[in-house]
């Protein structure tokens, strides 16, 4: 079905709206004289709310692809876009108070952040290799700039440099893989590529060769071992508010990129990429969980934990497409949404406990935290046990769901490896609880963060707890959006 281009425009209204609003925010920021830029901040938040509303309004009943199949709207994209925007909303809230307290607030943060979100939305809806790449680059370039925002900080500049060089390399590898696939099949559009591969009868070596580079690009963006080396340095070096951003919304976009490319485009090569993903995920879970144990910086520890979680997420993508039941990566979808919620909480907690003259990013900063702040210590306890995958918290269901799917496709040994590594991982999460509850405080850590930050983190913690008790609805959404 072909539509005139103007009619097709209505399917990208949320993206267009975000583009216009981001430019508007930029204009307002330029003319705003107020020191703390409240207008820029609020306008950015309103933009995200508007986009969420628009995305929900334009939620399609079934798959609709427009612009010659370069862009797709389906229920999956709605869920992912809402997650990205909602996560960014929380990130902006934390960031605003974080930078304001340190006198480093720049209006550009929100503008660049909105452009990153736009990139993610494009990635989520991308249905051709070109639009995937377009969205990816828009997102990545914005993120490089965000990491480098604070020019005075040496570590931040170093982190930005590393991120940029390695990120550019990964983009290059991905692009190389895309060009090989395009060269063989003569098409950029993912479903046509899948059609070409399934009808292709000759040798698949060249196709597999291209696939390798695509998988490398995806692994880099997800932070899977052995393409993870940038992640701990960037997480540690960036301002905590930017780390918070890196650790949340872009994971969703990377997940979208992975399933669009691998499942929608390269499903006929399932046998090949499944093996690659198994190696990536086992290495990530092993290295991430084991190296995290020896960290003394909590941001770095959570970075290694993110690598381990990426391994679990990849496990969830393994089943790919089932001939009868359709897409079966609902577990990965559920996992990525859960992870974003928990990750926002854990990094938000670092922002909450820090102050302008003390960053609170060392593990020892949390000694005896429960003595003076029982409520927030409890919230952090919830995040830690949830990340470790202990019931009754959300993180348990995320791991449960992935392991269930892995067993359903018959990889029982993989499931056993996964649970063993989550026990290894439990150790360093327990250590945070130990520091907060069992140790005596060196100093008296008073919380200076404002009311909004406190409310947000409490809400976030309670969400992890409540969703742990009633995960049914979220699981239902994740499975139904993939049907049909």
């Amino acid at each position: 079905m072909m539509m005139p281009i103007t009619a097709e425009m209505m399917f990208v209204v949320p993206e267009l709206a975000l583009l216009v609003l981001a430019c508007l925010v930029l204009l307002c920021d330029v003319f705003s004289t107020s020191e703390n830029k409240p207008l820029t901040y609020w306008l950015a938040q309103v933009s995200l709310v508007v986009v969420i509303v628009l995305v929900i309004c334009f939620n399609p009943e079934e798959r609709i692809s427009v612009f010659h199949n370069h862009f797709i709207l389906d229920p999956l994209s709605t869920v992912l876009k809402v997650t990205v925007c909602a996560a960014s909303l929380v990130v902006f809230l934390f960031s605003y108070h974080y930078f304001k307290a340190r006198g480093q607030l720049q209006g550009e943060y929100f503008v660049i952040g909105l452009f990153a979100v736009l990139g993610m939305l494009v990635m989520i809806s991308a249905y051709s290799m070109l639009s995937v790449y377009l969205g990816l680059e828009l997102m990545s370039l914005s993120l490089y700039a965000l990491v480098a925002m604070n020019r005075e900080s040496g570590t931040a500049s170093e982190a930005a440099m590393k991120y940029f060089v390695l990120g550019a390399l990964a983009s290059g590898l991905l692009l190389y893989g895309i060009s090989i696939l395009y060269g063989i099949s003569g098409t950029l559009v993912l479903p046509e590529l899948a059609g070409y591969i399934s009808s292709h009868t000759g040798s698949r070596i060249a196709l597999t060769f291209g696939l390798v580079f695509v998988v490398v690009g995806i692994a880099f963006k997800l932070g899977a071992v052995p393409f993870h080396t940038w992640l701990p340095d960037v997480y540690e070096g960036s301002p905590t508010a930017v780390t918070l951003f890196l650790a949340s919304a872009p994971k969703v976009a990377a997940f979208a990129m992975a399933v669009r490319l691998l499942v929608d485009g390269l499903q006929p090569l399932h046998v090949d990429w499944q093996g690659m993903l198994i190696i990536l995920s086992v290495l990530s879970m092993a290295a991430g969980n084991i190296i995290a144990i020896s960290q003394t910086n909590i941001k770095r520890m959570l970075a290694y934990s993110a690598i381990a979680h990426a391994g679990f997420l990849i496990l969830g993508i393994l089943p790919g497409l089932d001939a009868g039941a359709g897409a079966t990566y609902a577990a990965a979808l559920f996992y990525v949404i859960s992870y974003v919620i928990m990750s926002l909480g854990a990094f938000g907690f670092i922002i909450l406990s820090g102050s302008a003259d003390h960053e609170a990013d060392q593990l020892t900063d949390f000694k005896g935290f429960a003595e003076f702040n029982p409520w927030f210590a409890f919230i952090m306890l919830v995040f830690m046990f949830s990340l470790a995958g202990v019931p009754p918290f959300l993180g348990f269901w995320a791991k449960w769901f992935v392991i269930k799917e892995v067993i359903a496709i018959g990889h029982i040994w993989l499931a056993i490896l996964a649970v063993i590594f989550s026990v290894v991982g439990a150790y360093y999460y327990l250590r945070i609880v130990k520091l907060m509850y069992f140790d005596q405080p060196d100093t008296m850590p008073a919380i200076v963060a404002g009311r909004q930050v406190r409310l947000m983190i409490s809400f976030n913690g309670l969400a992890v707890l409540v969703l742990g008790f009633v995960p049914g609805e979220l699981i239902r959404i994740c499975t139904t959006v993939l049907m049909g």
């Binding site: 029982p374 348990f396 509850y437 049914g472």
Partner: protein, 505 residues
């Protein structure tokens, strides 16, 4: 109105909600917090008594069933029910929690409200384990239970508490995750997590063996069986008295409950196949750990090793059943083994709780658990010495106390299967008497050892209360165990019948 009371849900959620309320109140009103905790635990105890009174002992079906959808996508339901196996354990849980609350009344000074709340939440979660009829709901409670216990040992424990509590958590967590894999595998075959559905699922021997081993890893750590028992002495020694009591009285029973609820009925053929292996492990625990207990210098450690040794009887009773079934079918002998194991669980729950409370009573006064620091306590604490005498005798299996009944039944059942097993198992009667009474002699009898002992005050009214309650229960079950057997009989007959049938396709 009583007819429609969702007793099981109340048993789970009333303590948890009570605990949350206390957390919110905080340490501002210490006395009200204590009274409220006691009230909630008493309500739970009354509920469990109500459960006992209204329990129909003539049927092996699940009773007091509550059902509602929980995660409909995967057919996971909030499905509760009890049979003759769970009711005694629930009663043990609610009873012990009341004792623990009384025991912590004046002893706990720091973070009192969090202490009380942890125990209430723990009680709710433990009840949840015993009433869950859905395997995932069971697992949910089973794992969640670790969190309050982790905090109890870590916050209120002794000097090496951090090491002990992390070891406790990781050991049990590692064991449990394999059970999760096994449950998910069963789901992939059956499409249901309902435990009774899993009973009906036919499985090849190969698959059964793997599932049995996965369950074994989870339950053996909890029981704990030799050689995965090493977390227990550490956890017990470092835990506060209340924590030790709950650990010994109930958490260890979860392992036994797991065997009888999951391993035996879901994988009967593998259990029969591996029964000899399990019997050997049980005998090693009974005999070898008995010797280990003999040389302990620390009273809590001694009781901890004695627990491992006594829990060996539970697993012995459960797995001796298979050779009895192969000899004479699922008759009286087989049920005797199962009933002996169950009886031993309840009895050991009471006795170990009592002994840990006795050590706690002394520790609160002298601040030492070393046997060498005591001597001649009977001179200054005569009432206490008589109570402890009773519990020590019960631990040694003296007829007339509950300790005798379970051990006697298991030994008798073993004798029918193989006299040599019975002989080895009966050594616990000698060893148990040796290490318990020798400790008792060194601590209680003799001349007053030092000034601290000379200045001891005999037990207060509060301490007399909880020791007397336990003494009553130990004697009652020892002299008149019939009501408990009646409670379990139908269910155990049914179970013996079930496990005697092969599930191999």
């Amino acid at each position: 109105m009583v007819q429609y009371l969702p007793i099981l849900s109340l048993l789970v959620w009333a303590p948890i909600l009570g605990g949350l309320v206390i957390l919110c109140v905080g340490d501002r009103m210490r006395d009200s917090v204590k009274l409220f905790t006691l009230l909630v635990s008493l309500v739970a105890l009354l509920l469990s008594i109500l459960l006992y009174l209204r329990f129909d002992t003539t049927t092996a079906l699940m009773q007091f069933v509550e059902y509602s959808e929980w995660i409909s996508t995967f057919n996971i339901n909030y499905h509760l029910g009890v049979d003759g196996i769970s009711v005694p354990l629930i009663m043990l849980t609610t009873f012990t929690t009341v004792l623990v609350v009384i025991a912590g009344w004046v002893v706990i000074e720091s973070r009192l409200s969090q202490y009380m709340a942890s125990f209430l939440i723990l009680e709710g979660l433990m009840n949840g384990v015993f009433v869950s009829m859905d395997a995932i709901l069971f697992y949910f409670f089973w794992e969640a239970m670790l969190i309050p216990m982790f905090l109890i040992i870590g916050v209120w424990g002794g000097p090496r508490r951090v090491y002990a509590t992390i070891k406790f958590f990781l050991y049990t967590f590692l064991g449990s995750v394999f059970m999760l894999v096994a449950l998910l595998y069963l789901y992939s075959k059956m499409g249901s997590f309902y435990i009774l559905d899993l009973y009906r699922l036919p499985l090849s021997l190969e698959a059964q063996k793997w599932i049995f081993i996965a369950f074994l890893l989870a339950f053996a750590v909890k029981v704990p069986m030799w050689p995965v028992h090493t977390w227990l002495p550490d956890a017990h020694v470092e835990a506060p008295t209340g924590g030790s009591v709950i650990l010994a009285a109930i958490m260890l029973k979860m392992g036994g409950y797991g065997f009888i609820r999951f391993s035996l009925p879901i994988t009967p053929d593998a259990s029969a196949e591996l029964a000899n292996f399990m019997i050997v492990l049980s005998l090693i625990a009974i005999v070898y750990i008995g010797f280990v207990a003999l040389v302990q210098q620390d009273m809590k450690k001694l009781i901890a090793y004695s627990s491992v040794s006594h829990m060996g009887f539970v697993t012995l009773g459960f797995f001796i059943v298979f050779s009895l079934i192969s000899q004479s079918g699922p008759g009286t002998d087989a049920v005797m083994g199962l009933a002996g194991g169950m009886m031993q669980m309840i009895s050991h729950g009471l006795i170990s709780a009592a002994l840990f409370l006795c050590v706690g009573v002394m520790y609160d006064r002298v601040h030492s658990r070393q046997i060498a620091d005591y001597g001649g306590v009977a001179n200054t604490m005569p009432v206490f010495a008589s109570f402890m005498m009773l519990f020590a005798m019960a631990n040694a299996g003296l007829p007339g106390t509950s300790g005798f009944v379970g051990e006697f039944l298991v030994i008798l059942a073993s004798f029918h299967a193989n006299a040599w097993i019975a002989v080895a198992a009966a050594s616990v009667l000698i060893l148990g008497a040796a290490y318990t009474l020798w400790m008792y002699k060194r601590v209680i009898f003799g001349d007053v050892a030092n000034e601290q002992v000379a200045g001891l005050q005999d037990i207060s009214l509060r301490e007399t209360l909880f020791l007397a309650l336990l003494a009553g229960a130990v004697l009652l079950l020892g002299l008149w165990p019939a009501p408990l057997f009646e409670l379990m009989e139908t269910t155990l007959n049914h179970l013996a019948e079930h496990i005697s049938q092969s599930k191999i396709i």
